[in-house]
C-alpha cells in the first residue's frame, strides 16, 4: 500500500492533547508519524485540503443494522457505505435483530461481516435476555467471550426491575456494561409522541417524559445496589440528565449517550404528522432539548451516538401512530453535531471527543485516537463547507432521515480505514 501524506491540515484529537496544523503520514495501515512539518516522502500520495480537519475515525456507539433479518431496510454493506460517508470507522451494532444476537456464533458472525466490508469495524452488542424478549438472561459470559462489547435489548427497555438487577449484578462479574433504553414500558405502551400540548392537538397517544425519568431513577438505584455498570442510551429529558449528573457525582457507575435528534430537533418536527420525525424515545419539548445541549457542554453526556434506525418507505408511509419509529443517522452524525459547535454551545474539541475517544473508552476498545503506531482510522472534514440533507439522496439504503431539507455546515471529505481510503 502506498504511503499517504496529509499535508498541512488541522490535526485534532483532544483526548490526546493534539491540536496542531501540520502533516500526518500513513504507512502500512498505521499512523507512522505526524508533526508541524514532515517533509515529503518520494512516493507518498498527498492529501491537501485547505481548512480541513483530520480527526480520529468516528466511533458510533449505537446503531441498528438491518442484518440479520431486516435486509429490506438495510444491509451491512449499505450501512458501511453510509457510515464511511459519515466519517464513522467503528460502530456498535444493536442486537435486536432477527434472530437477536443472543448466541456467541452470531457475535462472531457480525464481527466477521464487519471485517468483510473493509471500511467498518462492527462491535456487536449482545442481547441481555434471550431473543431480547425480557424474560430470561442470555449467556452473557459466552457472549462476552465471543466479543460482545456490552449488553442491551436494543430498542426494548428492560422493564422488570428484578431482571435488571440480575443483569447488572451478573454482568459485573464479566466487567460488562448494561445499556438500557430508558422508557418505562407500561407508561410508553401505545404512545406515539411526547405527552403534552402538541400530542393533544394532533390527537396522538402520548408518552410522558416521566417514562424516561422513572426508569433512569430506578436503574441508578439498581446500579448502586449491585455495583454494576449501567449506560443509558439516547437520553432526552432534562430530569433524567439531572439524575445522571447527580449519580455520577455520587460515584455510581453510570454513563449515558444522546443522539443528534435530541439536541437538534424538538417535538414540533412531527407537525402535520411527519412520520420521519417519529423516533423512540419521541422528540421532546424545547426545554428538554436545551437541557441535552447543556449536558453535552458540561460533560454529563459521555458520547454522541447516531442512534441509526433504518426504515423503509412502507414502515413510514403510515398513519403516524402506526408508523415505525426511528431515523437514519450515520451520514448526518458529524454535521448535526457540528451545528452545536457553530452555535457556540460546545467547542470543536468537545464535539470530536464525544464522537471518538470517549465512546471508544466507554466501550473499552482501542479506537478513536490519533497516535504513532495506531491503526490509521481517520476522518477528514471541512467544518464550514455546506450541504443539504435530502431524503432519497443519502448514502446507503435507508433514507428515513428526520433532518430532511436541513442545510448543514460541515462536510466529510474523506474517511480512511486502516490506512485505506474508504470514502471521498
Amino acid at each position: 500500500m502506498r504511503d499517504v501524506l496529509f499535508s498541512f491540515v488541522r490535526l485534532l484529537d483532544p483526548v490526546s492533547g493534539l491540536d496542531l496544523h501540520g502533516d500526518l503520514l500513513l504507512r502500512d495501515g498505521r499512523i507512522a508519524d505526524f508533526g508541524p512539518s514532515l517533509g515529503r516522502p518520494d512516493d507518498a500520495a498527498v492529501v491537501a485540503e485547505q481548512g480541513g480537519v483530520l480527526c480520529p475515525g468516528l466511533v458510533d456507539m449505537r446503531a441498528a443494522l438491518g442484518e440479520p433479518g431486516y435486509e429490506y431496510r438495510e444491509t451491512i454493506a449499505s450501512a458501511a457505505e453510509a457510515a464511511a460517508a459519515g466519517g464513522i470507522t467503528t460502530l456498535a451494532a444493536l442486537p435486536d435483530t432477527l434472530p437477536a444476537i443472543d448466541d456467541p456464533a452470531l457475535v462472531r458472525l457480525l464481527r466477521a461481516r464487519g471485517d468483510e466490508t473493509g471500511s467498518l469495524t462492527i462491535l456487536p452488542y449482545g442481547a441481555v435476555t434471550v431473543g431480547c424478549r425480557g424474560e430470561e438472561l442470555a449467556e452473557l459470559g459466552l457472549l462476552a467471550e465471543a466479543g460482545a462489547i456490552a449488553f442491551t435489548d436494543g430498542s426494548r427497555a428492560l422493564g422488570s426491575a428484578r431482571l435488571m438487577r440480575l443483569a447488572l449484578s451478573y454482568a459485573k462479574g464479566f466487567g460488562a456494561r448494561i445499556v438500557q433504553h430508558p422508557e418505562e414500558p407500561s407508561l410508553a405502551d401505545g404512545g406515539a409522541a411526547t405527552e403534552g400540548e402538541l400530542a393533544t392537538r394532533l390527537g396522538l397517544p402520548g408518552i410522558p417524559a416521566a417514562a424516561e425519568v422513572i426508569l433512569v431513577a430506578r436503574d441508578i438505584q439498581l446500579a448502586a445496589l449491585t455495583g454494576g455498570a449501567v449506560h443509558f442510551a439516547h437520553v432526552s429529558t432534562a430530569e433524567a440528565l439531572q439524575l445522571i449528573r447527580q449519580a455520577k457525582a455520587d460515584g455510581i457507575n453510570v454513563t449515558c449517550d444522546t443522539a443528534p435528534p435530541y439536541f437538534d430537533l424538538n417535538e414540533t418536527a412531527i407537525g402535520d404528522f411527519r412520520t420521519y420525525a417519529k423516533l423512540s424515545p419521541p422528540l421532546r419539548k424545547d426545554a428538554d432539548r436545551l437541557a441535552v445541549v447543556a449536558a453535552l457542554a458540561d460533560g454529563t453526556i459521555d458520547a454522541i451516538a447516531s442512534d441509526h434506525q433504518p426504515r423503509d418507505a412502507d414502515d413510514k408511509r403510515q398513519p403516524f401512530a402506526q408508523a415505525t419509529p426511528g431515523g437514519t443517522g450515520l451520514a448526518t452524525l458529524l454535521s448535526i453535531t457540528l451545528a452545536q459547535v457553530h452555535s457556540g454551545a460546545i467547542s470543536l474539541g468537545q464535539a470530536i471527543e464525544l464522537l471518538t475517544a470517549r465512546p471508544a473508552r466507554l466501550l473499552g476498545v482501542e479506537a478513536g485516537r490519533i497516535g504513532k503506531g495506531l491503526p490509521a482510522d481517520l476522518c477528514l472534514f471541512h467544518p464550514e463547507r455546506i450541504w443539504q440533507v435530502e431524503a432519497g439522496r443519502l448514502p446507503g439504503k435507508a433514507q428515513n432521515t428526520p433532518f430532511d431539507g436541513r442545510a448543514l455546515e460541515g462536510v466529510v471529505l474523506g474517511t480512511w480505514k486502516a490506512g485505506r481510503r474508504v470514502f471521498g
Partner: protein
C-alpha cells in the same frame, strides 16, 4: 374572504371568515332542505366517495344524502381495517381512488392523521369525517350551526364540553371552532379522561360537573366508550354516571335556557339521562342531525368549487 383550502382536514388553522362562510352557506341549505327543493345540477357529473375505515352509519348517511341532494354520484366504500395490513390498505386504496378520478373524498379512519396522509396522495379534495382522536370538522360545524341558529351568535357564549375529552375528536374540533369564533369553552371530566395541557388549547378545565356547568349556555355531552372502563380509565359506568352523567340535577346549574347537545350515538344512563336527552325544550340532539346534512352540503359545495386550487 371565503374558504381558502383545497381540503377540509381540520378546524384548527381555519380563520373566522372561513368558518363563517361555511356556516352561512349551510344556513341557506337548511332553508332549501326544509322547502323540499334540491340543487341537483350543482355537483352533476362529480364523484363523491365515502371511504369509511371505521363503521359509522349516521355520518356516512349524512354525507351520502348531502352529496345526492347536490346531484353528485355517490359511492360508499367500507374498508375493514382488521382484515389486511392497515397502512397498505390505506395507500393502496389511495392509488385506486386516484385512478378512478374521484372529485371529493370523504374519509373516516381510526388513526389520527390518516386523512392528511391520503390528501398527500390523491388529487381529490379530502374531507375528514373523523380521524382517530384528532378532529371531526363537520361535526363541529354542525354543532356551531345548531348553536348559532338557536342563540343567534357564538361569540361570548359559555359552552361546557363534558366527558371523555381525551379520546374525543369531536371535542377537539369543537374547541378549535368555538374558541376561534369567540365562545368561552370549558371542558369537564375526570382527570384520567382529560388530555395533557388541555388548557393550552384556550379552554378552562373542570373536574366537577357542578362548577363546570354553572352558568353555561350550552352543555355538550361526549360519548363514553365501554373500552375506557376496560382499560381502567374510569372504574365503572355507574360511578361515571353518578359524577359525570348529565341528569336534571346537574343540568339545573346551567342557565335556565341552556341547551344540551350530543354528537351521538348516546349511551343513555352512562353519560346522559334519558329525561334530559329527550327534553323537547332543552335538547337539540335531533336538530344536530338535520344541521349535519346542511353543513355537509355546504362543505361539498365549497370544496367542489376548488377555491384553494385557483388561488395558487
Amino acid at each position: 374572504m371565503s374558504y381558502r383550502q383545497k381540503h377540509l382536514l381540520a378546524i384548527e388553522g381555519l380563520y373566522p371568515p372561513e368558518i363563517g362562510h361555511l356556516l352561512d352557506l349551510a344556513e341557506s341549505y337548511v332553508l332549501l332542505n326544509r322547502s323540499g327543493k334540491t340543487q341537483r345540477d350543482l355537483l352533476r357529473g362529480r364523484t363523491l366517495i365515502n371511504l369509511f375505515f371505521e363503521d359509522s352509519t349516521r355520518t356516512r348517511t349524512s354525507f351520502e344524502l348531502a352529496g345526492k341532494r347536490l346531484g353528485a354520484d355517490v359511492i360508499n366504500m367500507s374498508v375493514s381495517t382488521s382484515s389486511v395490513n392497515k397502512g397498505e390498505t390505506l395507500l393502496d386504496t389511495a392509488a385506486t381512488l386516484n385512478a378512478m378520478h374521484c372529485d371529493l373524498l370523504v374519509v373516516r379512519h381510526d388513526q389520527s392523521g390518516a386523512p392528511n396522509l391520503l390528501a398527500q396522495k390523491v388529487d381529490a379534495a379530502v374531507i375528514n369525517a373523523g380521524d382517530g382522536t384528532h378532529e371531526h370538522p363537520t361535526q363541529a360545524l354542525l354543532d356551531a350551526l345548531t348553536i348559532r341558529r338557536r342563540k343567534g351568535r357564538l361569540e361570548g357564549l359559555i359552552v361546557a364540553i363534558c366527558g371523555d375529552v381525551l379520546h374525543s375528536r369531536v371535542a377537539r374540533s369543537n374547541i378549535h371552532l368555538l374558541t376561534t369564533m369567540g365562545s368561552r369553552v370549558r371542558v369537564v371530566g375526570p382527570p384520567t379522561l382529560m388530555p395533557t395541557e388541555a388548557e393550552r388549547l384556550g379552554v378552562e378545565v373542570f373536574h366537577d360537573m357542578e362548577r363546570g356547568l354553572a352558568g353555561a349556555d350550552i352543555v355538550m355531552m361526549l360519548r363514553l366508550q365501554r373500552e375506557r372502563m376496560q382499560r381502567g380509565l374510569v372504574p365503572s359506568a355507574r360511578e361515571y354516571f353518578r359524577f359525570f352523567g348529565l341528569d336534571a340535577a346537574k343540568f339545573a346549574v346551567a342557565k335556565p335556557d341552556a341547551l344540551v347537545m350530543h354528537p351521538g350515538p348516546m349511551n343513555r344512563g352512562v353519560e346522559i339521562d334519558s329525561a334530559v336527552a329527550d327534553d323537547p325544550h332543552r335538547s337539540v340532539i335531533r336538530e344536530q342531525v338535520e344541521m349535519g346534512v346542511a353543513v355537509r352540503m355546504a362543505v361539498l359545495d365549497t370544496l367542489s368549487r376548488g377555491h384553494g386550487r385557483n388561488e395558487f
